[in-house]
């Protein structure tokens, strides 16, 4: 049971990582990050069967932070969209220099 959960969360994490690396749409990348976070959440929950309740407490923390992050992140994406009228990250290269 634990092994199957591990495999599943590893797959989910890889999918999320590849999504962040490959996709150019900021919203999709954002979704991929959420996917990564939830992959990690799955491992926490699964492993709490073996090591105790602390893993589940961590999951709550992660979900809280993720919610805050989602609020701020979406706000940023919206303001970027208002400025550039696009959410394709290839157009945003101001982080250079």
């Amino acid at each position: 049971m634990v092994v199957a959960s591990m495999i599943l969360s590893a797959l989910l994490f890889v999918v999320g990582t590849l999504g962040v690396l490959i996709r150019r749409n900021a919203i999709i990348m954002f979704l991929s990050i959420e996917l990564q976070l939830n992959a990690v959440n799955l491992t926490f929950v699964a492993l709490s069967r073996v090591w105790g309740i602390e893993g589940q407490i961590f999951v709550f923390f992660v979900m809280t932070v993720a919610a805050a992050e989602a609020a701020v992140g979406l706000a940023i994406i919206i303001s970027i969209f208002r400025h550039y009228e696009t959410v394709n990250v290839n157009n945003f290269n101001l982080l250079k220099w």
Binding site: T17, V20, L21, I22, R24, M29, V89, N90, F92, N93, L94, L95, K96, W97
Partner: protein, 729 residues
């Protein structure tokens, strides 16, 4: 007044004295120095006052130039204060210093001082095992030097009032001159080699400043630079000698070093030889001996009173003083002493040959000075320290007089040529001739000095120079003399140089004062005798040149007809006076070498050779008189260039050219190599290379900074993978 004077002269008011003293006295009464610190301090005060005036004057003339005019010194308001005050302050402080020195001298005469009196003022250097106190030492040797320095300086300061009075930079001139006297007194009164070195460097600085006094003239500024650089080479020797001395004695104070020298250093050992030779290297620089004499003739670019004071009477004798001061060390090193005497004898002869063919009056005197300094080194090199110092003193009189006389001539010539706007050289003797009609006082005093330097009885030079030559011969005949043949050679060189001296000096006199005048008919009407402020110092020095030799007539001569059968008042006074200072050295010499010979190398006693050298000098003067007098000279511009050997002498044996080829040029090309290849190529290359490397790496790193979030995320993921890989495997 009746009460004060005796008290002043015997030092009854010990309570007034500041500072602490060391040194014990024997005999009647104790020597209490009278304000010795003030002797040094007074010229410094003069320097400060004149220096401030010089700055004020510089500001005033800068303001005048900015307002589109020029500062007129002879305006309706009379001379400004900046040009009247130095007249009193400059000579005044030196005159006061001379008076204080006189008081001390009279006090010292009254007691027999065995040990020097050292007066400590404050601690100058206090680090680890190295301690130097700012302390002045008073003994017979420093007293002689103080008298010569302050006395001759005072006369030359007075002369300068006339000579430099119309110079716009008059206050600056006196500031430098006062500063020089300050450093020179520090040099001769210092109680340790370290403090002596302060004076040693200080006089070098003043020499540089005064040679390049008219610094807007490129040639004169270069002459100052040359003097400074050549002196640095000598100073290197002085420093090394001090280090060596310190390594053995752990102090640089004169008293402990000289007391411990005989016990602490092996006679003729390697260390003492090195110390004496390095000290002598310092002396060759400061006192213009082979191989470092080349700066002195160029130093004539300075004002003529400066040449008289610094480059004839006082500063250049510092090396002789230093060797005499270190007499114990030199007595312990036969090689060192033989080198001193040898370099001295060679220089005396070599410089005299160059003087034979110079046309610039100051150049003749400059080479004459180099030659006479050579005599002094022969004296101190053969252990006749009193004779060396005696010649130093008489030389200060007659060479100071010769230079001041030359200054008077140049002053007069300059005025005459100025009237017709002629550009002829005011210093070239070919443009002079027949000046005795126009300048009778200068003519007479110059002849006194000429007879003195030529060694004609009874002038000062006869007694001082003859004693040195005699001692050189007698030293070679000592029972265990180290290199007897060598000293015979020195003796011959010194005798030959004496004859050359008589020749070139007579040539100078005849070309300058006798024969027809060659200045030009219009110009010669403006030739004038100098004012009293200039000829009174000349006459004073002439009297000293005439009588100054009588204070140290050797015992044998004193009893013979040359000493008027003992009628001359003072006998071997200088010899006895310096006895406490040189006694230790004489004792070392007597122990190791035995008694000196009573006859010259080829027989004959002191009186006989005295007569011989006197007759030879007179014969040479007569010969030169006829030979030079019969020659037709024409003004410098019409004179053909010398040919053959005369040309070689006129060009100074091509020594400057030789040095240029073997020292200056290789040094320049080495410097160029170091600059262009090593500094600009290698060192800058490494530094720049590192810079380029950092820039290249930065450029490479910047390739990864695309600005796109995905790239960063990719690098981040790869980094995580790498770290994970490292942790797991």
């Amino acid at each position: 007044m009746h009460a004060i004077l005796p008290m002043l002269l015997t030092g009854g008011t010990a309570a007034l004295q500041a500072g602490t003293e060391a040194g014990s006295q024997s005999g009647a009464g104790a020597f209490v120095p009278f304000l010795p610190g003030l002797v040094v301090l007074l010229p410094l005060i003069g320097f400060v006052i004149n220096g401030v005036l010089a700055l004020l004057h510089a500001r005033a003339s800068a303001v005048a130039v900015r307002n589109g005019g020029e500062l007129d010194l002879d305006g309706p308001g009379g001379r400004p204060l900046t040009h009247t005050l130095p007249t009193w302050v400059g000579p005044g402080v030196v005159g006061l210093a001379f008076l204080i020195t006189l008081v001390n001298f009279v006090r010292m005469l009254g007691v027999h001082l065995e040990e020097p009196v050292v007066r400590t003022y404050w601690t100058w250097i206090d680090t680890g095992t190295f301690h130097v106190a700012a302390a002045l030492q008073l003994d017979q040797l420093s007293m002689v030097m103080m008298l010569v320095v302050t006395g001759v300086s005072f006369l030359i300061h007075v002369f300068s009032v006339g000579y430099m009075g119309d110079d716009p930079a008059y206050p600056r001139y006196f500031a430098y001159l006062n500063l020089f006297v300050f450093f020179m007194l520090t040099l001769v009164m210092a109680s340790s080699y370290a403090l002596m070195f302060v004076g040693w460097e200080g006089v070098g600085l003043c020499s540089y400043l005064l040679i390049g006094f008219w610094f807007t003239d490129r040639e004169k500024a270069d002459a100052g630079k040359k003097a400074f650089v050549v002196n640095r080479i000598g100073d290197f020797g002085f420093l090394v000698a001090m280090f060596l001395l310190f390594s053995r004695f752990h102090t640089l104070d004169f008293v402990p070093v000289f007391h411990g020298a005989a016990a602490g250093l092996a006679y003729g050992g390697g260390l003492i030889t090195a110390i004496t030779l390095f000290f002598f290297l310092g002396a060759t620089g400061k006192s213009a001996q082979i191989p470092l004499y080349i700066w002195l003739p160029d130093a004539m670019a300075g004002p003529t009173p400066v040449s008289a004071l610094i480059h004839a009477a006082t500063m250049v004798t510092a090396g002789v003083y230093m060797v005499a001061r270190s007499s114990v060390l030199y007595a312990l090193s036969p090689v060192g002493s033989a080198t001193v005497a040898g370099v001295g004898a060679l220089t005396a002869f070599f410089a005299a040959t160059i003087a034979l063919k110079q046309y610039d009056i100051k150049k003749v005197l400059a080479y004459s000075t180099v030659s006479q300094l050579g005599y002094m080194f022969v004296g101190v090199g053969v252990g006749a320290y009193a004779a060396g110092i005696f010649h130093l003193m008489t030389h200060a009189f007659f060479k100071g007089l010769l230079f001041l006389g030359a200054g008077a001539i140049i002053h007069s010539m300059h005025h005459a040529l100025h009237h017709t706007h002629s550009h002829a050289d005011a210093q070239d003797m070919r443009n002079m001739g027949g000046l005795r009609k126009y300048m009778p006082i200068t003519w007479i005093v110059m002849w006194v000095a000429t007879l003195a330097i030529s060694g004609v009885w009874p002038f000062a030079g006869f007694f001082s120079k003859d004693e040195i030559i005699w001692q050189a011969g007698a030293f070679g005949g000592a029972a265990h003399a180290p290199y007897p043949r060598l000293y015979t050679f020195y003796w011959i060189l010194a005798l030959a140089a004496a004859l050359l001296t008589a020749f070139y000096m007579t040539r100078l006199m005849v070309m300058t004062f006798h024969g027809p005048n060659r200045t030009g008919t219009e110009e010669s009407r403006h030739l004038r005798e100098t004012p009293a402020v200039m000829w009174i110092p000349l006459v004073t020095l002439a009297a000293l040149s005439l009588f100054g030799g009588w204070i140290n007539v050797p015992e044998k001569l004193h009893q013979s007809f040359l000493g008027l059968f003992g009628a001359l008042p003072m006998g071997e006074w200088m010899h006895h006076w310096l006895e406490p200072v040189t006694a230790a050295a004489q004792q070392i010499q007597a122990t190791h070498l035995g008694a000196v010979s009573e006859s010259a190398p080829f027989g004959g006693g002191e009186v006989l050779w005295g007569v011989v050298s006197f007759l030879l000098a007179v014969a040479v003067i007569a010969f030169a008189w006829r030979m030079v007098g019969s020659r037709k000279y024409v003004p410098a511009e019409e004179s053909p260039a010398d040919t053959g050997f005369a040309r070689v002498l006129n060009r100074k044996w091509y020594v400057d050219e030789l040095y240029d080829t073997i020292v200056v040029r290789p040094l320049k090309s080495t410097s160029r190599f170091c600059w262009k290849v090593i500094d600009a190529g290698v060192i800058d290359g490494i530094v720049n290379g590192l810079g380029y490397l950092a820039r290249g790496l930065g450029w490479f790193g910047s390739l990864f900074q695309t600005g796109t979030v995905n790239t960063y995320a990719l690098i981040l993921s790869l980094g995580v993978l790498v770290i994970l890989g490292v942790v797991i495997f």
